[in-house]
């Protein structure tokens, strides 16, 4: 017995693995799978496409450009750069109810928040409330890390410095009376940004934490005074700041400004009537051929309005069905796997 073993000591093991006999599933592109598969996928796509399209159509969107680059537009006077603290107002009329909940966005075009150097120009540690980075911001913030007198800028970097600073108030005129539409600015940023990623230093009052630092060059007020009405909405956890800091993927983007507070007359959304938006026009975009707009939109289960997805599903679904017919014809002619 022992001898026999030693005689075949080099015999390879007889396992399915070493002998490459592992049981395996060997799918094959047979007509029986491919053609019905295409039909099924096509039908499913058409179904999804219809649902998406219908949903998307039901979403109301109202876009109002207020860049003011054409002479007739209400903000054209403000867009001529030098003017500071310029005010202008925009009117629009709703003939039917704008179904709630209604979201109030501002939109920018040709704005490269996704530029690499722009995106890198911030200091996560500083924004996390780490005081040691208040005095020495990361070099990635350059040139917005120190001001001309070598004082550290907090929050540093291009993104923070370029924060959108137009403000809007919305009024509803009905039966001659003008009502301020209540806007809700709470919780418009991501929960994780508000609770995890951005933090104020645990110094009270918050102002003290910013001793020895300066506000970003473009800012009118320092970070700890961003929201005079709500002391807890200041510093790095200011909702508008958070929304701005979540930089956009594409050069045309919109960001959430406010929610229409669903209370009183606005429980169902924006009722029909005449509306006026008063704009504090601060943010210059004409210099780089940018555009600014205001967007009112409601949402559905599929998010905001996007007709592309529905149409794409419909088109591809139909193509699948067409393709399956083509394949059926080809198969009927050649019948490959049956052939010997």
């Amino acid at each position: 017995m022992v001898k026999q073993e030693s005689e075949s000591a080099n015999r390879p093991d007889n396992t399915a693995f070493t002998q490459q006999r592992l049981p395996a599933w060997q799918p094959i592109l047979s007509a029986g799978i491919v053609i019905p598969g295409f039909v099924l996928i096509g039908l499913a796509f058409i179904g999804i496409g219809v649902a998406l399209f219908v949903t998307s159509r039901s979403i109301q969107v109202l876009e109002l450009d207020y860049t003011g680059d054409s002479n007739g537009s209400p903000c054209s006077s403000c867009s001529q750069s030098v003017v500071t603290n310029c005010k202008c107002s925009l009117n629009f009329t709703l003939t039917t109810l704008f179904q709630g909940p209604v979201f109030f966005y501002y939109g920018l075009s040709n704005y490269f928040q996704n530029y690499r150097r722009y995106g890198a120009s911030k200091d996560d540690n500083q924004l996390y409330g780490d005081l040691s980075y208040f005095t020495s911001p990361s070099s990635s913030c350059s040139p917005y890390d120190y001001d001309s007198s070598k004082k550290p800028i907090v929050p540093c970097g291009s993104i923070a410095n370029s924060m959108f600073n137009d403000t809007f108030t919305l009024t509803w005129t009905v039966n001659g009376t003008t009502n301020n539409v209540p806007l809700d600015g709470k919780g418009i940023a991501w929960w994780t940004d508000y609770n995890i990623k951005y933090r104020n230093p645990s110094v009270t009052p918050l102002k003290n934490a910013f001793n020895g630092t300066v506000k970003p060059i473009n800012w009118a007020k320092p970070a700890y005074e961003l929201d005079a009405s709500d002391p807890s909405n200041n510093g790095f956890v200011n909702q508008d700041f958070l929304v701005w800091m979540r930089r956009a993927a594409l050069p045309n983007f919109r960001k959430l400004y406010r929610r229409i507070d669903a209370s009183g007359d606005y429980q169902k959304g924006l009722p029909a009537g005449n509306y006026t938006i008063d704009i504090a026009y601060n943010y210059p975009v004409r210099a780089f051929n940018g555009a600014k707009k205001i967007v009112f939109s409601n949402v559905s289960w599929m998010g905001g309005r996007n007709e592309f997805l529905g149409i794409a599903y419909l088109v591809i679904g139909s193509l699948c069905v067409v393709m399956s017919i083509v394949m059926l014809i080809v198969y009927a002619k050649f019948k490959f796997p049956d052939e010997e």
Binding site: S8, A9, N10, P12, N14, T18, Q19, Q20, L22, Q26, I28, L29, S30, F38, I41, P101, Y105, N110, F112, N114, Y115, R116, R117, S121, D124, N125, Y128, D130, P143, S158, N161, I188, W190, W191, T192, N195, I196, R246, A248, A249, L250, P251, F253, L256, R259, F288, S297, V299, W301, M302, G303, G304, R305, N306, A312, Y313, I316, M327, V330, F336
Partner: protein, 1107 residues
């Protein structure tokens, strides 16, 4: 200077320790890194890493390159370290071998490594020679020493070395040796095995030294009890070590293609980066300069410089088109396939306990592309075992057995030779009637065997009483003498003048008067003997055509009968010989002897005169009969050759044998068939034909033939033929052989296969793959080779697809981000994409893939042809693959772009932000890449499934972990994507986008492939479809080999000239018994560690024949 260590040490000669390892513990890291960075790919990534450290350029964090680079480097380093540890072990084993060294007047057992130049060492029988030694004295007469040099030059015969008489007198007298104070002056160490020049100064006498007095390291002492030698060169200075140069790396055609492709990709990368740089310049001029309100330029950087920096930034971002893990993955795949070859039980030969072995692990896919096979004959196609199979005596045929129905019986009881106590127990014969005939004393039969026992040049060796061993110069002859021995005519011993034969138990002494030696022209040999009764007889055996011409007319009738038998034997592929005798009368013999003597001392035209004399006496002979010796083919050779031919592989047999032998084997192994009508013969001198102007002609002629057999080729010519085909046909070649004479050919071919047979280890040691039987070749090629090739091609195609798709997304994104080298994905995703997320599934595909299983592969050898034509992966396929990636990346970028650019979450919050978009894009990409893998994989084992699903799971696990709050709290700035996963992956429109883009990438491929299968099904598709219907292929019908009708010219012995004279000479028999001349089995040898790259070049006239 002998016996003077202090003096010798002062000259700083190398001691006998050898070191083949490359590194030690301290030098490993720097040296190994240096080695690795010499590879272009690694250097490229080091360069990238440096680029990334420049802040103005760095578009990606350093870890995206550093992590994969470290990963790749460490894998290679581990492999190198392992190899080097093995070399260390081997060195240590060799260095620690013991040898007797003469020190301070007595012999001490020392380790090899401690032997110094000038020491005197004592070697014993079968020991390896320690270093290059000057032979001083030996146990044998005339100070002869027998050495075997197989490990040096592959020659298996023994060589004689002789010491100087002056030193030989020292004998084994320790005191005399200790007092020996000779001084040797010689040439510096070199690698010429056949040359040595030096002088020995001893007691004021100067003796010339040459190669005959040297024992080289690597030789083995044989048949010599002991000898003493003076160490001349030690360790690294020895000729063996000087010869073990760097072995040539063989690279596969895929490797060459890869080099070209990688260069193309570099060009492509440069092109893309240039486009980006130019567009960036435009963008900076038109948009960027205006956007400086919010994004001021860095000091001193204007649009032009920015565009220049953008170029380098994009080099970093797009670097993944040159995949870093490509080379490592290829190595891993080849290694895996090599292991599968090692593990294959169907290539394991139980008789020798030899599994197949892939000695080179970097060539596996080339096995699937072989177009030409160059095969040795002896030992490769044949077993090199001759068996006495049949004979015809006096018109009666023996050897075939028929049962009652007239069918030939294959296996019957062996004839019992126990009545003959000198019989060779290994001999087997199945026809009882012949034994009865001999024992009954039939005179013709007895004469027949008497002839066999007398007419030969075999040397007997009788170590113990009754234990005879024959040393035959050719195996045919050995078989015949052994047959005679078993039938009661035992050739016992010979002296130059006599031959002793035990005839049916009686000792009979024959006087040997003359040996009429064999040569190529005569194709026969004769002996003239005087029997005990004083009768003079000439016994002759030779090629049937020759003998039959020289017969006495009285045996015409017998001749006819015998000719019929000969035809029959030839039809069975046996080697035939005709036997004849002639009685001579005393007076004629006296006269003839006189003339023979005169002729043999004639100064002019000696050979012609001798030939004339031989011709004169070898006529009017009486036919005795004929023998048929089977040159046993290895098992399954004809079937294998047939299979390989079906796979459109051309087989050329290159053999040193004569034309008839080669031709005969060609027939018996099915390479030549009767129905080959357009067979034509070209007899030429290969050496001549290999000259420049005739090369192409030879090649063209040879390639028109279905089968090519080159005979009488020397090892060098074998290599030349291989190189010729390699060079002009651009085809992948494989050489298979078993002997030292095949080494050159094995090294020259793309792939060398060694048969670990009887002819020693030389071929195996220089081969890339080795196994025990020729028939395993079909499995190696048709199964393993094909699979390896398919796997490698699928791997490459898929790998390029996945990396191009991955990279091109950055390119499309550039148009939306101001050409700022912003990446589409999270940096961590870039880091992990090749190393973690997709590494295992790709390996799964490329290790386990099989289109059809091994049985179907063997059933349909045609499946092999796409590999030969390089159809699965070539430049075209690469371009297709790039186009496909372009399509996929366009879909993968623009579908998410279109569906995300203006949308929001279902709670109105942001989702079109950069981080969500990155996550969406990378998730789409990964799913598409896996879906493509799904389409490419034909063979889904549990492991593949596990790899794919686990990788997807790992992706989500890692993503959610990296984007979790916890990770951000621990490493604040390392993972800035906090919360992205949970905020976007819970949105239905995100998933709908993923679903849409995945299907949009996959469905066209499915449709295209389906239609392609319908319109133009490949052989693979057909076999796959068939395999699906029937679980297992029907067993191949057992082909019975067609019997040959025409008679092939008979057989001369595979003999060379000159042995006749040798057996008659005194000198040869000096030692009383013959030394073994021919084959030796090889034991453990130092060759395993050191392979001398040397072979003997034989410049010998040769002829080539191409049927």
């Amino acid at each position: 200077r002998a016996n003077d260590r202090a003096f010798n040490l002062s000259h700083g000669y190398a001691n006998n320790a050898i070191r083949t390892s490359k590194y030690n513990i301290f030098t490993f890291l720097p040296l190994n890194l240096f080695e690795q960075f010499r590879r272009l790919a690694n250097a490229y990534f080091l360069f990238l890493l440096i680029l990334q450290l420049i802040p103005q350029i760095s578009s990606l964090s350093w870890f995206t390159t550093a992590v994969p680079l470290v990963f790749v480097l460490s894998i290679s380093a581990v492999k190198d370290a392992n190899d080097d540890i093995n070399r260390h072990k081997c060195d240590r084993q060799v260095n620690n071998r013991k040898v007797d060294v003469l020190m301070d007047g007595q012999l001490k057992n020392e380790k090899w490594m401690n032997v110094q130049v000038g020491d005197i060492v004592k070697l014993e029988n079968n020991e390896f020679v320690t270093a290059d030694l000057l032979l001083l004295s030996s146990s044998e007469p005339l100070n002869l020493v027998y050495v075997e040099t197989a490990e040096l030059d592959g020659e298996t015969n023994l060589k004689v070395k002789q010491a100087l008489t002056a030193t030989g007198e020292l004998g084994d007298n320790i005191e005399a040796l200790a007092a020996f104070n000779g001084e040797v002056r010689c040439e510096p160490p070199n690698n010429r095995l056949d040359k040595f020049k030096g002088t020995l100064t001893m007691n004021d006498d100067i003796y010339a030294l040459d190669n005959d007095k040297m024992l080289l390291r690597g030789c083995t002492l044989r048949n010599t009890e002991w000898c003493f030698g003076l160490v001349i060169f030690g360790g690294p200075d020895t000729k063996l070590m000087q010869n073990s140069g760097k072995s040539v790396f063989k690279r596969t055609s895929i490797d060459h293609l890869m080099n070209i492709l990688v260069l193309c990709i570099f060009g492509f990368l440069g092109f893309m980066c240039a486009i980006m740089a130019i567009l960036n310049a435009f963008w900076e001029a038109s948009e960027g300069s205006l956007f400086t309100v919010f994004l001021p330029r860095e000091a001193g950087i204007d649009a032009h410089l920015s565009s220049f920096l953008t170029f380098w930034s994009y080099v970093i971002v797009l670097n993944t088109v040159v995949p870093i893990s490509l080379y490592v993955s290829m190595e891993v795949i080849r290694l895996g396939n090599s292991f599968f070859i090692n593990w294959d039980r169907k290539m394991y030969y139980p008789k020798n306990d030899t599994p197949a072995q892939a000695r080179t692990t970097t060539l596996s896919e080339e096995l699937g592309q072989i177009k030409y096979i160059f095969s040795d004959k002896t030992g490769t196609l044949t077993q090199n075992i001759m068996t006495f199979n049949k004979c015809s005596i006096n018109g009666k045929a023996y050897g075939d057995l028929y049962d009652f129905s007239g069918q030939r019986v294959e296996i019957t009881e062996r004839v019992d030779f126990s009545w003959n106590n000198l019989a060779d127990p290994k001999f087997s014969f199945h026809d009882h009637s012949l034994v009865e005939m001999v024992r009954s004393g039939n005179p013709e039969t007895q004469e027949f065997f008497r002839l066999l026992s007398l007419c030969h040049t075999v040397m007997p060796e009788e170590k113990k009483e009754g234990e005879l061993n024959y040393q035959a110069q050719s195996p045919d002859e050995g078989a015949l003498v052994t047959a005679a021995r078993n039938f009661g005519f035992v050739f016992r011993s010979r002296t130059p003048e006599t031959i002793t034969v035990i005839e049916m138990g009686k000792q009979v002494l024959y006087e040997l008067l003359a040996v009429l030696d064999f040569n190529n022209v005569r194709k026969r040999m004769s002996v003239i003997v005087r029997g005990p009764e004083g009768k003079l007889t000439l016994y002759c055996k030779g090629a049937d055509t020759i003998i039959l011409e020289r017969l006495d007319p009285s045996c015409n009738k017998l001749m006819k009968l015998t000719t019929n038998h000969l035809n029959e034997y030839a039809g069975d592929g046996l080697r035939t010989l005709a036997l004849a005798y002639k009685d001579l009368d005393e007076s004629y013999m006296k006269d003839w002897t006189q003339r023979h003597h005169e002729a043999s001392i004639a100064m002019e035209e000696r050979e012609e005169k001798l030939d004339e004399l031989y011709e004169e006496i070898e006529k009017d002979m009486m036919l005795l009969g004929a023998t048929a010796v089977e040159d046993k083919l290895q098992d399954g050779v004809p079937q294998t050759i047939e299979q390989l031919a079906k796979a459109d592989i051309k087989i050329w047999v290159l053999t040193g044998d004569k034309q008839e032998t080669a031709e005969n084997i060609g027939y018996s192994c099915n390479m030549l068939r009767e129905e080959m009508k357009d067979v034509f013969f070209v007899s030429a001198n290969t050496a001549f034909a290999l000259e420049k102007n005739l090369r192409l002609e030879l090649l063209r002629t040879a390639c028109m033939c279905q089968t090519v057999i080159c005979c009488r080729v020397t090892p060098l010519q074998k290599a030349q033929v291989v190189q010729l085909v390699k060079k002009y046909k651009q085809a992948v070649t494989l050489a298979i052989g078993d002997g030292a004479n095949d080494v050159s050919m094995i090294k020259a071919a793309h792939i060398g296969v060694g048969i670990s047979g009887q002819e020693g280890m030389q071929a195996v040691l220089s081969s890339d793959f080795c196994f025990a039987q020729f028939r395993y070749l079909q499995r190696l090629l048709l199964v393993h080779g094909r699979w390896s090739y398919i796997r490698m091609c699928k791997f490459l195609g898929y790998f390029f697809y996945k990396n191009f798709t991955f990279t091109l997304m950055h390119f499309w994104y550039a148009f939306f981000c101001g050409f700022s080298a912003q990446t589409v994905y999270d940096e961590w995703f870039i880091t992990f994409y090749n190393t973690i997320y997709t590494a295992l599934p790709v390996l799964g595909l490329s290790l386990f893939e099989q289109d059809v299983n091994d049985r179907w592969s063997l059933q349909h050898p045609q499946l092999y042809t796409p590999g030969q034509k390089n159809q699965y992966f070539n430049k075209k396929a690469f371009v297709r693959c790039v186009m496909h990636s372009c399509y996929s990346s366009l879909i993968l970028f623009f579908i998410p772009w279109a569906s995300m650019h203006d949308t929001v979450r279902d709670d109105g919050k942001d989702i079109a932000d950069y981080q969500s978009f990155a996550l969406l894009a990378q998730t789409c990409l990964l799913i598409v890449v896996f879906a493509q893998l799904f389409l490419d994989t034909y063979y889904w084992t549990a492991i593949n499934q596990l790899f794919v699903w686990a990788s997807i799971a790992v992706y989500f696990a890692i993503t959610f972990t990296m984007y979790s709050s916890g990770m951000f709290l621990i490493f604040t700035s390392a993972f800035p994507f906090t919360g992205t996963a949970r905020n976007s992956l819970n949105q239905p429109n995100v998933w709908l986008t993923i679903f849409l883009s995945s299907l949009l990438c996959v469905l066209p491929v499915v449709a295209f492939r389906f239609i392609l299968i319908q319109l133009r099904p490949t052989i693979n598709d057909e076999v796959r479809a068939k395999a699906r219907k029937e679980a297992l292929p029907a067993p191949a019908p057992r082909r019975t080999l067609k019997k040959r009708i025409t008679r092939r010219s008979g057989y001369a012995f595979s003999h060379s000239q000159g042995y006749g004279a040798l057996v008659m000479s005194q000198k040869f028999l000096l030692k009383g018994h013959m030394r073994r001349l021919a084959l030796f089995d090889h034991r453990d040898s130092p060759m395993v560690q050191n392979q001398p790259q040397h072979y003997r070049t034989i410049t010998e006239e040769s002829e080539s024949q191409s049927p």
